[in-house]
């Protein structure tokens, strides 16, 4: 069993950074949703805010690592133009476009994924900043609206990453980067 350098980078991009981000989402969402002074003691709120800061900070780092490795390491291999007479299996974009039954994975899947993925780090960092800035006060009833707004931004960042991750997995299945 041997993995090429390209396969290792593709796995890091999708299965380590991207999947790590997606897996961490539920913990962050539960932490944000239950951050209410009527549900949690003062000690609990302080502990929960510290945990949220670490979780969302880790997600922000993973999110940026995912889009940077995707855009600047994996994507150039995906979109490279094949020389005359090359085996298209080594050039995923050209391979997909050459087959009318597979072309949609590029024209819809990759075209959407490569752009929407960048929404995720932007929104995650906004969420991270708001948690750091407002901290335990987010649990207060008067800040209920802000807490809900943060939850919505957090869900949107996850949805963007989810779309990108789903298409990434499906495109890799149709035309792996070898």
């Amino acid at each position: 069993m041997v993995l090429t350098a390209r396969e290792i980078w593709t796995a890091l991009h999708g299965m380590v950074f991207g999947a790590g981000y997606l897996l961490a989402f539920t913990a962050g969402l539960v932490g944000l949703y239950s951050l209410r002074e009527s549900w949690v003691t003062g000690v609990g709120i302080m502990e929960r805010v510290v945990r949220l800061k670490w979780e969302v900070a880790a997600m922000a780092v993973l999110s940026f690592l995912t889009v940077f490795s995707g855009t600047y390491i994996v994507y150039p291999w995906y979109r490279a133009a094949p020389p005359e007479g090359a085996d298209l299996l080594e050039y995923p974009r050209s391979f997909l476009l050459a087959n009318p039954n597979l072309a949609g994975w590029h024209t819809f899947g990759m075209e959407w994924k490569e752009h929407i993925a960048w929404f995720s780090p932007i929104l995650t960092i906004a969420v991270l900043y708001l948690i750091f800035k407002y901290g335990p006060s987010l649990a207060q009833e008067k800040n209920k609206n802000l807490r809900w707004m943060i939850v919505v931004l957090f869900i949107l960042s996850f949805a963007a990453a989810g779309v990108a991750g789903l298409f990434g997995a499906l495109i890799t299945k149709a035309a792996p980067i070898l």
Binding site: I45, W112, H115, W118, I122
Partner: protein
């Protein structure tokens, strides 16, 4: 001082910094969409966005969108750091910018402009 009192005694932070963070994030998402559809509409813009050839115009679309996001955040954050602003209205504006950004990055939409 108990932790419960620490929470209730947390000093009130104005809404300005939250509004700046949300609006600038919305602007960043909108910018990605504008560059994506713009690159389809204009060959000159598409070429200008190609700042790292192996990644093509995607490199410029995302780099310039991140620059717009961060600069607008710095600027708005400075201007609104002590201001009490309408959080609800700002959130709606942010959601509209994110939604338009999403639409502009949706392939069936921007492909409709392809020659």
């Amino acid at each position: 001082m108990s932790a419960a009192k620490t929470v209730t005694r947390t000093k009130t932070i104005p809404s300005g910094p939250a509004v700046a963070a949300m609006i600038s994030a919305g602007l960043g998402c909108l910018a990605i969409g504008v560059f994506t559809t713009g690159a389809v509409l204009s060959e000159e813009l598409k070429n200008a966005l190609n700042i790292y050839n192996p990644a093509g115009p995607l490199s410029g679309k995302t780099t310039f969108a991140v620059v717009i996001w961060l600069i607008s955040w710095l600027l708005l954050g400075y201007l609104w750091k002590d201001k009490e602003l309408n959080l609800r209205r700002s959130f709606i504006i942010t959601m509209i910018m994110v939604a338009v950004g999403l639409l502009l990055t949706f392939p069936p939409f921007f492909e409709a402009f392809e020659a």
